[in-house]
C-alpha cells in the first residue's frame, strides 16, 4: 500500500478494495491533487486492438458522496472508426500534470452530469464501466 492509499477516507478505501477484487489488471493510485485521486485502472477497454488498455480516472476522495470528473490517458483515444475521440479531449491539459511523469498526456473532461446518483463504494465498478462506455461512444 502506498502512502497515499494509507491515508484514504474509509469509503474511498472500501471502493478501492472493491475494484481491486472485481476488475482484472492493475489498480492503484498514482497521484492525489485537489481532493481528487488519479486512479489507474489497467483494464479500461479501448476501441482498437492497437490501443493499450488503461487510464486514470479522476475520482474524488469523497467518493461516493462526490462524483468522478475526467479521465487521463497516455495516448489519445480512438473511436471504433479509428478517428480520434474529440468529445472533451484536451491534450497536455494541466489536469494531466499529476500523472505526466508516468505518461499521462490526454485529458477527457467527462462529467457525471445526468448520470445516476452514486450511493455506495461498490458503485466504483459501475463508474469504470461508465468510462468504458464513454470511450466506446467516442
Amino acid at each position: 500500500m502506498s502512502d497515499a492509499e494509507a491515508e484514504l477516507p474509509a469509503p474511498f478505501a472500501e471502493a478501492l478494495a472493491y475494484v481491486h477484487s472485481h476488475r482484472d489488471g492493475e489498480v492503484r493510485i498514482d497521484a492525489v491533487k485537489d481532493n481528487f485521486a488519479y486512479l489507474w485502472i489497467g483494464s479500461i477497454a479501448k476501441n482498437q486492438s492497437s490501443e493499450t488498455p488503461g487510464g486514470w480516472i479522476r475520482l474524488p476522495l469523497a467518493f461516493p458522496y462526490a462524483n468522478p470528473h475526467g479521465l487521463v490517458t497516455r495516448e489519445a483515444l480512438r473511436s471504433s472508426g479509428e478517428r480520434l475521440v474529440s468529445d472533451g479531449h484536451n491534450p497536455n491539459h494541466d489536469m494531466c500534470a499529476p500523472v505526466r511523469g508516468v505518461g499521462g498526456a490526454h485529458y477527457y473532461s467527462w462529467t457525471w452530469e445526468n448520470a445516476p446518483q452514486l450511493r455506495s463504494p461498490q458503485d466504483i465498478v459501475g463508474v469504470v464501466q461508465w468510462y468504458e462506455r464513454r470511450i466506446r461512444l467516442g
Binding site: D24, A45, H69, G70, D87, G88, Y108, S109, W110, T111, W112, E113, N114, A115, P116, G126, V127, Q129, W130, E132, R133, R134, R136
Partner: protein, 94 residues
C-alpha cells in the same frame, strides 16, 4: 440427447422453453424470448432502470457487444444474449 437449442435456451416438458441469462452474477430465467431491458434490469435489482444501460457481453466478464436502454426489447434467443452487465447512463463534459 442433443436438442439443438442455444446455450442459454433450455427446453422443459416439451414445448416450454426457458432462457437463462446472467446479469453480472445474478441469474434470471425468462419464458419468453423477447423481454424488455427494463424488466431485466428491475429483476436484477435496479430501481431506476431509465438511468442505466443494459450491456450484452460476448462472454461472462467480457466485452460489451450491444447495449439497450430501458425502452428497448432484448431478443434472448439471439447470439451473445446470455451475459449482461448494467452500466450507469448519462454524462456530460466540462
Amino acid at each position: 440427447m442433443n436438442t439443438g437449442l442455444g446455450r442459454n435456451e433450455a427446453e422443459r416438458e416439451g414445448s416450454h422453453k426457458e432462457y437463462v441469462i446472467f446479469v453480472g452474477d445474478i441469474e434470471e430465467k425468462w419464458r419468453e424470448a423477447h423481454v424488455s431491458a427494463e424488466k431485466i434490469m428491475r429483476e436484477a435489482g435496479v430501481t431506476e432502470p431509465d438511468k442505466f444501460i443494459l450491456e450484452a457481453l460476448d462472454h461472462k466478464g467480457g466485452n460489451p457487444v450491444a447495449e439497450f436502454t430501458s425502452k428497448d426489447s432484448v431478443d434472448l434467443a439471439a447470439k451473445d444474449r446470455e451475459f449482461f452487465r448494467i452500466t450507469p447512463g448519462g454524462g456530460g463534459r466540462s
